[in-house]
Amino acid sequence: MNRDMHGDPTVVDTFLESTLESVDRAEELVLDAAKKAGINEDDALSLGMAVRECAVNAVVHGNRYNLNKKVHLTIARDPEKLTIRIVDQGEGFDLQNLPDPLAEENLLRHSGRGIFIIRAFTDDFSVRRLEPAGTEVTMVKNLGS
């Protein structure tokens, strides 16, 4: 079995175009992996939504729909967890500078809820800036919990 760069066995390793169709594809792949991992339907849909939000960030804000840039999706599964990584080739963002969407003054803002949704629907979430460019987002869903 192949392993990802962190040593976990991979079930998906694919490069996607910077399009909204790729967002749908990323969600489909995660839903399929979640089902095979025995995650219940409700949790799987929530995880799918987290991955959708992350893929949107990669396509829209990271790669800015640039078809010369790809979105790298990997899904790795071990007995304890499902680990999803999405890497774009954009300029990155600073988690610390994102406004809190639950703050009273931000409640009626049009955007800014994506990262919050990712955090809400995953067990672990981290962001790593890559050099010379790109962002790697890692999302973890624990199994059997």
Binding site: L20, E53, L108, H110, S111, R113, I117, A120
Partner: protein, 113 residues
């Protein structure tokens, strides 16, 4: 199915029946255009029936919020009807459930305007 919207008039309330997915792209833009058209036509009592909405993402939530603020700023009211469990849960965790006037029963919702 991406999204399907149809409107009907019940007294002075415009009911928008929404079905499908409200996600970034066609879903959110169709929702945005429909609400803008209604506001431009002077419709000020709008009931969004989301009973057949299977999925909504942060972009879709953004359109609901923008629609709400646009209608409210024009002196109108935008209310929600028939939320599925997933949509309701999402509005609750984003603290928007109490921002909107949400109803389960259409007749009751119509009378509330």
């Amino acid at each position: 199915m991406s999204i399907k919207l149809s409107t009907r008039q019940v007294g002075d309330v415009t009911v928008v029946d929404v079905a499908g997915r409200i996600t970034l792209g066609e879903g959110s833009s169709t929702m945005r255009d429909t609400l803008r058209d209604m506001v431009a036509k002077g419709q000020k009592k709008i009931l969004l029936n989301l009973g057949e909405v299977s999925y909504i993402d942060s972009s879709g939530i953004g359109e609901l919020v923008s629609g709400f603020t646009t209608v409210t700023n024009q002196g109108g009211q935008l209310k929600l009807l028939g939320l599925t469990k997933r949509v309701k849960d999402l509005l609750q965790i984003t603290k928007l459930y109490t921002v909107f006037d949400v109803h389960d029963d259409e007749a009751h919702a119509i009378r509330s305007f």
